[in-house]
Symmetry: C2
Subunit: 236 residues, 2 copies
Amino acid sequence: MTMAGRAAVPEVIWARPERTGRGPRPAYTRADIAAAAVRIADAEGLDAVSMRRVAAELGCGTMSLYNYVPRKEDLYELMMDAVSGEHELWEPSGDWRADMIRVAHQTRALMHRHTWLPRLMSPVYGFSPHALRFLEHCLACLDPFDAPYGTKMELVAMVNGVVTTYVTNEISTAERTRSLPWSEEQENAARIAYLGAQLASGAYPRLAASLGADAGPIDMEAVFERALGRVLDGFA
Amino acid sequence: MTMAGRAAVPEVIWARPERTGRGPRPAYTRADIAAAAVRIADAEGLDAVSMRRVAAELGCGTMSLYNYVPRKEDLYELMMDAVSGEHELWEPSGDWRADMIRVAHQTRALMHRHTWLPRLMSPVYGFSPHALRFLEHCLACLDPFDAPYGTKMELVAMVNGVVTTYVTNEISTAERTRSLPWSEEQENAARIAYLGAQLASGAYPRLAASLGADAGPIDMEAVFERALGRVLDGFA
DNA sequence: AGCGCACTACGTACGCTGTACGTAACTAGG
DNA sequence: CCTAGTTACGTACAGCGTACGTAGTGCGCT
């Protein structure tokens, strides 16, 4: 025993073969595991996704899961890949601007379907098989856009960033209050009451004007649309 | 006892008075607590910030902390407010574009100084006293920008969003490997090796062209600058 | 054919987390 | 002065990620 325990060498889970051929047939596939974790996250929030909980959902012992998923981080990676696979990939229309808007809307819909997704969004998870397919699709949509690949990558990153930012804003309070012992409405009411008191103090005149003038609720959909348009304009 | 235990009513920590006047003098101020938590997060990462750890840093018992901070979420809120106070607020120059660029650079520097900050970035924490001051300052910088307040708010949100997105990308791998038993270089090497194998498969021709052509490392600083410029262009 | 080893499965245990609850000391308002 | 509200904090519980050890299983090689 020259090496201490397991190898302390970094491994990307996608580099591990799913089956080696030796030993008993694994009872579950990675897809099974990812689906179970996604199901839990969708229904009960990301914090409900624990190794024990996922194992229970699958119907196996907790530690059996570690045969498939060496670390919890890798479970997240499986989840991200699974939902990345939900992206619809179409034949590029020839109008890259329209295609990017379609991509953005689809990503937004995906995030609304899986509200834990923005929290896991990170370039670290950007290289799973399905994520690569999605990225390649975005670049295919940008074929008619006459620019170096570096610029195209920046555009894709920007669009995804804007979508992530806006959806995060849309769902943040809802996700936050999920585990709290009071409702989202109560939470918002408390925050608005405090904010109102602060604005009334007169210390933030412009802010008061911004939030007080248009009393109506903000149309996040329209805000998103405008932001997206402006970003695309910045590149054209 | 008609009510079960503590009141299940939502409270924003800023709405609680720091001192009520009754009982012994509190041994610490909110600023003390926030500073201790920030110190830990800066030195050992956000995950090292636990109630026990912060209490130990302050030199008091774990549960004493709960007199000041009802929930851990509120500790995060104190941290966010503390670093928001590090924003330098200057007399607007009259050139709103230049001022917004300055704001963006300052926020980026702040996030590099406190790398846990992007992870906590959320509109939920956007209404602490120092955050309000910062927002008011941004709006003041936008006084020369002839647009409705709604548009100004969208601009500020966009700039902050872009900064957050880009700094997140810059920091993510570094933060991820902090707790792992191998170095960032090893982790990156493993990911790049896997990515290279995937690209070599020929399934992602555009992606391969994008990442393979310019072999040199990407200048994130320049990318950030361009992204920022494009966003501001979109509004002008 | 059959041996050996890599693999699956999983129970137990450790150190960590947030925090509910109970108790003792203290101090300002009535 | 008294008492109610506050601070301080030890104990305890449920839950977490996961290291480790042990059985059992079946492929690949001799």
